[in-house]
């Protein structure tokens, strides 16, 4: 098939032509390709078509093509689209059907591909490792890592150097500061260790360079090495090390066979690499991509530096901004050998919205610094179907946040009543924190609900405060620690309060359900008869399922929402059981034992650790995953974080929380602390303050560019003043000039 035939087929299906820039991306031949794609520019479609071109026009074996995206959902979506086109192509060219199998394409997140490829190629250094998710990594570090557990003042210089990781409010103990007499507590040290270790791997820190550095970097190495040794000892691997192992794998014979192929169809080698959302790539991922395409130079990256959001994951927008230079340095080619294509036509938003966010991002001097954005970036060019003379950029205000929320709810209600939109799900409310507290999502959610508009805010209520989760935890604890003697020995009041809340919840339920309380009482009795230092027949998940078999849990487990949370809770139990005891690889703490000294009770140490490690983590809200994928039910209005809204679009977008100033958060400071120790020195340099400011501006840019028909700011009167970053150029005059106030 030739390329024009392919493009013709696409046109037939879609009913419209590719624009000239899009077409260039699809047609591009060999060599590095740098696609800078603005919001709503059809980049996913272009990626799909480029893949089809490689398969159907260039006749490459699908299994020799790697395509990565940021989430599994995006990967599925991409593959789905490829499959749809493929089936339509087969209808016109049936002879191809037995020759081409697009299922061979390697599509996924980089993490999942690293994992699959190493397993498929039987990389010995990765065989039978247990991949730790975030919760598992937390529990593992909490119990095993020296940095979290050392009781002497050994690590004090490190605590001092990375003060921002070890101080600040701690939700478990309600404390702020540490000193030599009272070292940072274990929860804080665990959280800090995670950030430190992940960052070191993700930013490709050269341990040799660290060795030569002054104090306390020697302690950093010491703590890190300890962690890695323990991971290996227990055959665990976290997500950062997964990538490190993959990078090392590429240098082994099996890795080279994967990379270069051996002439067979089973091992065709890697011929093309395509990367989506490249702006959120971190240095180790950049290194992987460059290595995967070192032999071919066929690396195509697609992204938008202005939409980078993931510094806290180690992402540095620099990889996107300096792609050309990185290719020149790694491949030994000339700058002109890197093809740059700008997809700057916007098909998503009303032209005035497009001009608004384009102006917005350019209105800040810090975004005009060299290296802040991709150079020579053209302005966005709106060519979408949406037009019309109405206030597409506007704001709703009120004297207070509550009044603003009220006006917003009235407005949404009117939109629906007057058939401007059909369903609430055509709107979205974006904000920084979606907790339903008085200063965040609370007033907005309430105002909507008062008007009978359902809200979808999956992160609103702590997952452990629902009756079913609290009840089952209360019942479980009533069995393993019936007199709460272990709980009494636990220091932090927040852990105690949480547990008491669960117990009360359980008691209320038990009053109404005698079978349940009967089971719990009999279990306690049964344990009390077991002699000292003996294994107990059932493990913690067994107990969980026995409780679940009783009413009201039995009924709740078939309730769509409740069962989801109960299932999650079983996962948490399973995870906790799977964390081995320090020094005993393969041990299973899901198995219970009676105590050595006290008759008829579960080992005191076990109970105490359960409270400290697991409940401590739950209380510190380590479960708040910003990445929860949203599938809004049609009759609900979603309230979501800007991160959750990534890649989505809505007819009406409301944004609250314009009154913000940049914060030097720990991800920025950490990046800075290790800047000089990277294996490859970074190609752009900004101060932490500049980075913080740029990040905040990009954050709003992502929010604003989600809007199709209308972008509406929610700003209480008290927030309407200059100096805040949600306003164009931080200037309230400019903001008021561009955004129309909507009267009540």
């Amino acid at each position: 098939m030739d390329i024009n035939e392919l493009i013709g087929i696409v046109k037939n299906i879609q009913g419209y032509d590719l624009d000239s820039q899009q077409e260039k991306v699809v047609k591009h031949g060999k060599g590095p390709l740098w696609v800078v794609a603005g919001p709503g520019s059809g980049k996913t479609e272009v990626l799909v078509l480029r893949t089809l071109k490689l398969v159907f026009v260039d006749n490459l074996l699908p299994s020799s093509i790697i395509i990565t995206t940021f989430t599994e959902k995006a990967a599925n979506n991409l593959f789905e689209r490829i499959l749809n086109y493929t089936n339509l192509i087969f209808k016109e060219y049936p002879e191809l059907e037995s020759k081409i199998d697009v299922h061979g394409l390697k599509i996924g997140t980089l993490h999942s591909l690293c994992n699959d490829i190493m397993l498929e190629n039987k990389n010995q250094a990765y065989e039978n490792y247990k991949l730790l998710d975030e919760l598992e990594q937390y529990l593992f570090i909490f119990e095993h890592s020296d940095l979290a557990n050392e009781r002497s003042s050994k690590y004090c210089p490190l605590f001092e150097k990375f003060e921002y990781l070890f101080s600040g409010f701690d939700p478990v103990t309600n404390t702020f500061r540490w000193n030599k007499e009272r070292l940072p507590n274990k929860w804080r040290r665990t959280n800090a260790s995670i950030k430190l270790f992940n960052r070191m791997v993700e930013n490709l820190i050269d341990l040799e360079k660290l060795k030569d550095a002054e104090e306390p970097y020697d302690l950093v190495i010491c703590a890190y090495n300890d962690y890695v040794t323990k991971l290996e000892e227990h055959r665990r691997c976290d997500f950062a090390h997964l990538q490190k192992k993959f990078l090392e794998f590429l240098d082994t014979p099996l890795g080279l066979r994967f990379l270069n192929g051996d002439g067979t169809e089973t091992h065709p080698g890697v011929k093309y690499v395509l990367v989506d959302e490249y702006q959120d790539t971190n240095p180790i991922q950049e290194e992987i991509y460059l290595k995967l395409s070192k032999g071919t130079h066929n690396l195509c990256v697609v992204g938008d530096d202005d939409q980078a959001l993931y510094r806290f994951r180690g992402g540095t927008v620099d990889c996107m901004v300096t792609f050309k230079q990185a290719c020149v340095n790694t491949f030994g080619i000339k700058p002109d050998d890197v093809t740059v294509i700008f997809l700057n036509t916007n098909y998503r938003s009303h032209p005035d919205i497009v001009y608004y966010y384009d102006d917005y991002i350019k209105s800040f001097p810090s975004m005009r610094l060299e290296g802040a954005r991709v150079e020579y970036k053209p302005p966005l060019d709106p060519k979408g179907k949406i037009s019309g003379d109405y206030p597409s950029v506007a704001y709703i205000t009120g004297k207070t946040i509550n009044e603003t929320a009220e006006n917003f709810a009235i407005f949404v209600e009117d939109l629906i009543k007057n058939e401007i939109i059909e369903k609430p799900s055509q709107c979205a409310l974006l904000m920084r924190s979606v907790r339903e507290s008085a200063r965040n999502a609370g007033p907005f959610a309430e105002a909507l609900r008062n008007r009978g508009i359902s809200v979808y805010n999956p992160r609103s209520k702590n997952f452990l405060e629902h009756e079913e989760t609290a009840g089952i935890l209360g019942a479980f604890i009533s069995i393993i620690d019936p007199d709460l003697s272990a709980l009494e020995s636990v220091g932090p009041p927040n852990i105690k309060n949480m547990v008491h809340f669960w117990i009360n919840e359980y008691k209320e339920i038990a009053d109404k359900y005698p079978d349940l309380s009967n089971y719990v009482n009999k279990s306690v009795e049964s344990i009390s008869k077991i002699p000292l230092d003996n294994w107990i027949k059932v493990n913690i998940l067994d107990i969980f399922y026995h409780i679940l078999a009783h009413e009201p849990f039995n009924e709740w487990r078939d309730d769509v929402e409740k069962t989801y949370r109960l299932g999650q809770l079983s996962k948490i139990f399973e995870t906790y059981a799977s964390v081995p005891y320090p020094g005993f690889p393969g041990s299973d703490r899901g198995e219970l034992r009676t105590g050595k000294t006290e008759d008829g009770t579960i080992s005191f140490g076990w109970r105490k650790t359960f409270y400290y490690a697991l409940i401590g983590l739950l209380v510190s809200a380590g479960l708040d995953d910003p990445e929860i994928e949203i599938l809004t039910p049609p009759d609900h209005l979603p309230i979501m974080t800007v991160h959750q809204s990534k890649g989505l679009e809505f007819p009406f977008v409301f944004v609250y929380g314009l009154k913000q100033k940049p914060r030097l958060d720990d991800s920025i400071l950490l990046e800075d602390a290790f800047l000089n120790f990277r294996k490859k020195p970074p190609l752009v340099n900004f101060t932490p303050e500049e980075r913080a400011e740029q990040d905040l501006i990009r954050f709003y840019y992502v929010a604003y560019s989600r809007a199709q028909y209308a972008l509406i700011h929610l700003v209480p009167k008290v927030h309407l003043s200059s100096g805040f970053f949600g306003f164009i150029g931080k200037k309230i005059i400019d903001f008021k000039e561009k955004a129309k106030e909507l009267g009540a």
């Binding site: 499959l83 299922h103 247990k130 206030p391 506007a394 709703i396 007057n418 393969g586 049609p634």
Partner: protein
């Protein structure tokens, strides 16, 4: 009223595109057929089972067998190319895999199970290795096919070339293998026959997926019941109960494969209608005892004819 500013608009609701689901032949379709409620809880709703039953045994068999093939191909160490592993080497591979599984907390339930596994692997290696290893085309082959509204996915344990086969115009000279970590089903009971039928359906569908990828059907499918080897140290022939051959060169092959595919499609339709409302009622008829014995929902399940007594710690 501010909404009037937008009165010129009338924005239709975009129908959300339904994504195709991918179904695995073993972990979705066969599991659902076994018990829909168990499948719904552990396969869909994300409940974690209390014990990873049987996982160790199946995993170690598959992983060691794979090592043995790699040994023969010289992939682990070039010097072993085209050499059948010795008993000692089988044991070394076994221990390496066992160690790594143990470090992850996956252990043999008891030492006799461990002995069974080594014994079975050694016998397999000595008995089948010389004929099998030189003819292995590929192991753990991923096969998929788009069935219109869903994607069917399966992993074939092994593809073996049968060079001696007679001229076969419409078939590849290939055998597809599937290792089962069990004995041959007991056909004297109804459930045993059903089990075997399911395995045969599985092979028929593999054959179809193979054809979609390679253009032709393979000649045969072989179900290998590893546990039939146990204790047969002196055997110089494969015990007859250890293998069950499914011939694909068959006049009615298309019909047979179609009926297998139809059955699978019906199962997918059922899964999807359950998915839609997230409803996973107990099956009308209780599945075999083996299935319920290891099910964490057994403490209160209306499908059971005889209740399991509640256990206390």
């Amino acid at each position: 009223m501010s909404w009037r500013d937008y009165d010129c608009l009338n924005i239709p609701l975009k129908s959300s595109v339904q994504m195709k689901n991918k179904y695995s032949i073993t972990s979705d379709i066969l599991s659902f057929q076994l018990c829909r409620r168990q499948y719904g809880f552990f396969g869909v709703r994300g409940y974690q089972p209390a014990h990873v039953v049987q996982y160790w045994y199946g995993t170690i068999l598959h992983q060691v067998l794979d090592k043995l093939h790699m040994h023969y191909q010289g992939l682990l160490d070039e010097s072993t190319v085209e050499r059948i592993p010795t008993d000692e080497e089988v044991e070394i591979y076994f221990n390496a895999v066992d160690d790594s599984l143990r470090a992850r907390g996956i252990r043999a339930i008891n030492s006799s199970l461990r002995k069974t596994a080594i014994n079975v692997l050694k016998i397999f290696n000595a008995l089948e290795g010389p004929k099998l290893y030189p003819n292995v085309i590929d192991t753990e082959c991923d096969l998929q096919s788009d069935q219109g509204n869903y994607i069917l996915h399966g992993v074939v344990d092994l593809l073996k070339e049968i060079s001696m086969a007679k001229y076969t115009k419409d078939y590849d000279k290939v055998e597809i293998w599937d290792y089962k970590g069990t004995k041959f089903p007991d056909l004297s009971i109804k459930y045993g026959q059903e089990k075997l039928d399911r395995y045969v359906f599985q092979m028929l569908v593999y054959a179809e997926l193979y054809k979609l990828k390679n253009g032709k059907y393979p000649l045969k499918g072989k179900l290998y019941f590893m546990n039939e080897l146990f204790g047969n140290s002196n055997a110089n022939e494969t015990p007859p109960e250890a293998v069950y051959v499914v011939e694909f060169r068959d006049r009615d092959i298309n019909e047979k494969i179609n009926s297998a595919l139809n059955l699978f499609s019906n199962t997918v339709t059922e899964i999807e209608s359950n998915l839609k409302y997230d409803r996973w009622d107990p099956p009308e008829q209780q599945p075999d005892k083996e299935t319920c014995d290891i099910c964490d929902l057994r403490w209160n399940c209306s499908a059971l004819t005889k209740k399991y007594p509640m256990r206390y710690p």
